[in-house]
């Protein structure tokens, strides 16, 4: 009974922790980008202020039922995928095969956004969503092949078993034996996180922040929270598969390190066209991850 109570407590507490950490990640991202640009930058808690402001807005334009359901669907889809990612060696809803379920669930969030944006009927938003789905088609292939090579290496499709197999220090991380897969996944992660050069879906200067174009006030606040969770979930896949999980503190340190690398690339890069990005994902990262998969299949 007590164990179940603790488990439920963690299921409620974990999203709150992840939202706060994700917002701090975003704030740190703005600060670090500013330092790279030789600026002073906003305080690290700036995104928390932004969210408070957005939720305290008096009015927000609404275009219909689906317009308000879309962000909620995206947010809850992401919340469910968070439950399948063990954070700090703590399995919330883990079971055997949760990696495959997670890879499916990650698609719900962009689809929810697509439904919401469709009701808004703004051409910029439609372009943004079309780009997001095209980009997804590009990086999902790499992501799945890389995850597949890890599954093949351990013979398991469970995050907890994979983390267990990596326990025992830095030398046991799958980063070393599966270096090619890890490299490919990190490349794909740049697209998953939507950092430059793969920020075509939300290109503020071209298509006026794409899918978010019609959202304001509380809807935008919800999307900020969505973005905060998304960063932790997406870097979390990398941490659990290749960097060996770890305790709560070390888990977030590793996750931030993965985000930090993406951030530094983001700070100095321009943006690809969507066609170029798609082509990129299906050539180099796809080839590297396939090579990694073949090596695992042969050497295992």
């Amino acid at each position: 009974m007590n164990a179940i109570g603790i488990q439920i407590g963690w299921i409620i507490f974990m999203p709150i922790l992840v939202i706060i950490m994700g917002l701090l990640y975003l704030g740190a991202a703005r600060k670090i980008t500013a330092r790279v640009h030789n600026r002073y930058g906003p305080p690290i808690y700036q995104n928390i202020i932004d969210v408070i402001k957005l939720f305290s807005k008096k009015r927000a334009t609404n275009h219909g039922v689906m317009f308000s359901l879309g962000p909620i669907m995206a947010f809850s889809g992401l919340l469910i995928s968070l439950m399948f990612i063990p954070i700090g060696n703590r399995a919330l809803l883990s079971f055997n095969g949760d990696i495959i379920v997670l890879l499916y669930l990650l698609v719900i969030a962009p689809l929810g956004m697509a439904l919401g944006v469709g009701e808004g009927a703004n051409p910029m938003g439609t372009i943004g969503i079309a780009r997001a789905l095209t980009l997804m088609l590009g990086y999902e292939v790499v992501l799945i092949i890389s995850a597949l090579s890890v599954m093949l290496y351990t013979g398991s499709a469970s995050f907890m078993k994979i983390i267990e197999a990596q326990s025992g220090g830095v030398g046991h991380w799958f980063l070393w034996p599966l270096f090619l897969s890890a490299l490919a996944m990190d490349m794909a992660l740049q697209g998953v996180l939507g950092e430059k050069p793969f920020d075509q879906p939300i290109a503020p200067h071209e298509i006026a922040s794409g899918p978010m174009v019609e959202f304001g006030g509380k809807y935008l606040g919800l999307l900020q929270l969505y973005h905060a969770i998304a960063i932790v979930v997406e870097t979390g896949i990398m941490v659990n598969l290749f960097l060996g999980g770890g305790t709560l503190f070390w888990w977030f340190v590793k996750s931030f390190t993965v985000f930090f690398i993406a951030l530094l690339i983001n700070a100095v890069m321009p943006r690809f066209r969507i066609g170029q990005a798609f082509k990129f994902f299906w050539t180099y990262p796809a080839a590297i991850s396939l090579l990694g998969l073949i090596l695992v299949a042969i050497l295992k």
């Binding site: 640009h37 600026r39 002073y40 202020i49 402001k53 807005k57 009015r59 910029m124 304001g216």
Partner: protein
């Protein structure tokens, strides 16, 4: 109905510390924005970031002169912004017309058409002046001093009448009935004035300062 008030306390603080601005780059004032954003003056340290659409913005910057055609876009953008919203008039052109004081197709006083919270004088104001106005705005928002959107709603007839004097407001205003009525009234007035006129009009200087300014 209770009178709406500007946010105070934690809401006001959050609103002041996180201003997302829509810089409506009409005139030459836009050239002063890049130095304000980039490494030398860096306005992001106050939480001020440029935003791409009016739906996400809190602060509307009118950077320079406004032609009558642009005014229409400005009013439409302003009406799309969610409350609370703030407007900064930027440069002499928005104060009294500046060097376009006798132009036939620019407006001279911005706050006849949309409520302006702060003016920055100068032709053009330097980035220091812009940063100064931002800090003043942040301070004022925390204290709940700026309430432009409330003034706009309370004096909607005044603003719509002024807008109708220079452009067609019927198709795009949020309250189409009100806009239609005011537009017709202004047209009637204008017809009468043309009948009374003794000298032929080359063009009608569209903008006159009305008598009863709202407080």
């Amino acid at each position: 109905m209770t009178k709406e008030k500007a946010p105070k306390g934690i809401k006001g603080w959050a609103q002041g510390r996180s201003l997302w601005m829509l810089h409506f780059c009409t005139g030459c004032g836009a050239i002063e924005m890049p130095p304000t954003m980039t490494s030398r003056y860096d306005m992001e340290r106050f939480g001020i970031t440029p935003m791409a659409t009016p739906r996400q913005a809190d602060l509307l910057l009118i950077t320079g002169y406004l032609t009558v055609k642009t005014l229409k876009r400005v009013v439409r953008s302003y009406e799309q912004m969610p409350d609370p919203k703030y407007v900064i008039g930027f440069g002499s052109c928005t104060v009294n017309g500046g060097m376009y004081w006798d132009s036939y197709n620019t407006i001279k006083r911005l706050d006849l058409y949309i409520p302006v919270d702060l003016y920055i004088a100068g032709c053009m104001p330097r980035p220091e002046a812009i940063i100064d106005s931002f800090t003043e705005l942040i301070k004022g928002i925390k204290e709940g001093r700026f309430d432009g959107w409330i003034r706009y709603r309370e004096n909607i007839e005044f603003y719509k009448r002024n807008q109708a004097m220079v452009m067609d407001i019927r198709k795009w205003s949020l309250d189409t009935e009100l806009a239609e009525r005011i537009w017709n009234e202004v047209q009637e007035e204008r017809k009468k004035r043309f009948e009374r006129a003794t000298v032929p009009h080359v063009y009608e200087l569209a903008e006159r300062i009305p008598e009863g300014l709202p407080k």
